[in-house]
């Protein structure tokens, strides 16, 4: 079995080296940028608005300039990693074998295609999850640095772009691309279709989950200091206690909308408190892992039944 795993890695050596290098680059860059953001010393200013001084303003300018110049590109690269793993490691596992005809050799030698499939798939999936998890942890660290004073483990800052969710996204895109490859049997079409479906699928799951979490959201005063919470929506609170949006308010009180200062009703926000981050993250991770498991099992069933090409 060890030999078969070694050969699996050897078959994907090029992609593994490139993607491991890319991940290492993202991780190192994230840690370096996080260190540089921390090193600016903006943290105390960000936490206590009352002591906001001129020097804090200077620090803030430098902090946000560095954030947009250095942190944002690194986090963008980190967000691309799950797709890179899925498309360049997941898609080729079976699709490239079918395309090149090596399945004819492999499936005529292996009495159990399922065993072949597991030995071909499991090592890659494990590596993908590990690499994406490390990248997710580095992204965690960077988000912590760009949100000074916020306990990142209890905050929705960068939700879906850091931590374990990055690893689970990589898993589900890898599983999807792998499954698609078993059906399509050609690498390039698999990569293109998987990219489109991956983006749409992750977005769809995120939106569905947001609808679900909306039911758990609470109303808080929107004083501009809601930190760490997942912002769902914003309302005006009328004197009778009703919560209305902009359009509704325009119908109820058109004059308020025309005021130069804007509507003077107190604003409230619908948010999921940051303390629920772990729970919400775990729930989305479980759903995505379930989807990935279904796709991996489905791919196994197709491998057992399909022609070798």
């Amino acid at each position: 079995m060890v030999e078969s795993i070694r050969l699996t890695f050897r078959l994907h050596r090029f992609e593994l080296l490139i993607l491991a290098g890319f991940t290492a680059l993202v991780v190192v860059a994230a840690l370096v940028v996080a260190g540089r953001l921390d090193g600016l010393g903006y943290g105390p200013c960000a936490q206590v608005m009352e002591t906001y001084t001129r020097s804090c303003e200077v620090l803030a300018q430098r902090f946000y300039a560095m954030d947009s110049r250095e942190a944002t590109p690194v986090l963008t690269l980190a967000a691309m990693l799950p797709y890179a793993f899925g498309l360049f490691l997941g898609a080729p596992i079976v699709a490239r074998e079918i395309e090149r005809g090596t399945t004819r050799l492999a499936w005529s030698i292996a009495p159990s295609r399922l065993r072949w499939y597991i030995l071909r798939t499991a090592p890659i999936v494990v590596v993908v999850v590990l690499l994406a998890f490390v990248a997710g942890m580095a992204a965690d660290r960077l988000f912590a640095a760009r949100s000074p004073g916020v306990d990142i483990s209890n905050a929705f800052d960068g939700y879906g772009y850091r931590g374990g969710l990055l690893a689970v996204q990589a898993l589900v895109i890898t599983a999807g691309a792998l499954g698609l490859g078993t059906v399509v049997g050609r690498l390039l079409p698999t990569i293109i279709i998987a990219l489109v479906l991956g983006i749409l699928g992750i977005d769809l799951v995120g939106k569905l989950h947001e609808q679900y979490t909306r039911r758990e959201a609470i109303i808080v005063a929107d004083d501009g200091e809601i930190r760490g919470a997942r912002y769902i929506d914003q309302f005006f609170e009328l004197p009778d206690g009703r919560l209305v949006g902009w359009n509704e308010l325009a119908e109820i009180d058109p004059a308020a909308m025309e005021s130069e200062m804007g509507p003077q009703y107190p604003m409230v926000a619908l948010v999921v408190p940051g303390e629920r981050y772990r729970e919400v993250e775990a729930r989305e991770a479980i759903v995505l892992t379930g989807i990935a498991a279904v796709m991996l099992i489905g791919a196994g069933v197709i491998v057992r039944r399909r022609r070798p090409g």
Binding site: A106, W107, I109
Partner: protein, 288 residues
């Protein structure tokens, strides 16, 4: 003799209309090296793939040593060493990696046997598959099939892309290996001159049906060639007519008159008939 490979009324249809195999009844006896010949599209590859479970029959049954590959593909694969039409090697892996791959997936795979064949042919084990010539890749495919120590070898046109010397070497290894272990081999090929020396039985497929299934010796001894435009000898049964290499039209006949037929002429004559054996008896009038 024990029947190792068998089809009963086998049919395979692609799409709604195109039958690759139809009503095919065949047997291959244990210990034989049988040539499976026929034109492109005659169903050779489909038949071999069906025995390793790569194709599901549309009709009929097939067995490999009594095992139905449709119902129990794993058991059928375990009985089979298969050499696909193209070598199908992993270009990223070395020859030795392929042997390790086979050993990792096939219980009982004989690494030493496979390495021994390749050593004898001076094929470097540390070479990547994409560095090998076509002939060497075919030899690696054969060594992997032989290393399985399977009692049945199915070879799907392994000679197609090889030069004459590589074909000879391939067949030599095949014949020696099969004879050494008493295995059964079914070899599809277009190259009739080569299979004549290597094989002892012949199956001619045409239009997805069996046109002829006899020993090579019987095939040659039982057929004669006569000029097609001359009266056929009395009692000669015309199998088919076709243009000879010289350009004249000749007829393959069953009987004792005429010049001896080569194996190639036997095959071409039966393919020219284009249908399962339904020979026409030459009329006495024509003979007169």
């Amino acid at each position: 003799m024990t029947v190792v490979l068998e089809t009963i009324g086998l049919g395979k249809r692609y799409g709604l209309r195109r039958w690759a195999l139809r009503d095919l009844d065949l047997t291959v006896e244990e210990g034989s090296i049988t040539a499976l010949v026929g034109p492109n599209g005659s169903g050779k590859s489909t038949l071999l793939k069906a025995w390793v479970g790569f194709e599901r029959p549309t009709a009929g049954k097939l067995r490999i040593r009594g095992v139905d590959p449709v119902r129990n593909r794993g058991a059928a694969i375990a009985l089979t060493g298969y050499v696909p039409q193209a070598p199908s090697l992993y270009r990223e892996l070395s020859v030795d990696d392929h042997i390790a791959f086979a050993a990792g997936h096939r219980p009982g795979f004989d690494r030493q046997l496979a390495r021994g064949y390749l050593d004898d042919l001076s094929i470097p084990l540390d070479s990547r598959a994409d560095e090998l010539s076509g002939g060497q890749q075919a030899q690696v495919g054969l060594a992997l099939a032989l290393g399985t120590r399977a009692p049945v070898l199915l070879l799907d046109e392994p000679l197609a892309s090889l030069d004459p010397l590589a074909r000879r070497e391939f067949l030599q290894v095949l014949v020696e290996a099969v004879r050494a272990v008493g295995a059964t081999a079914l070899l599809s090929s277009h190259v009739i001159t080569d299979i004549e020396q290597a094989c002892d039985s012949l199956i001619v497929l045409g239009g997805g049906r069996s046109l002829l299934a006899v020993s090579i010796a019987e095939a040659i001894a039982g057929h004669r060639v006569v000029a097609a435009n001359e009266p056929h000898p009395i009692g000669a049964v015309v199998v088919g007519t076709f243009p000879a290499a010289t350009g004249e039209r000749v007829a393959l006949v069953r009987g004792s008159a005429g010049r001896p037929a080569t194996l190639e002429e036997v095959v071409i004559g039966h393919l020219a008939a284009g249908r399962p054996e339904r020979p026409q008896r030459a009329s006495r009038k024509a003979a007169a």
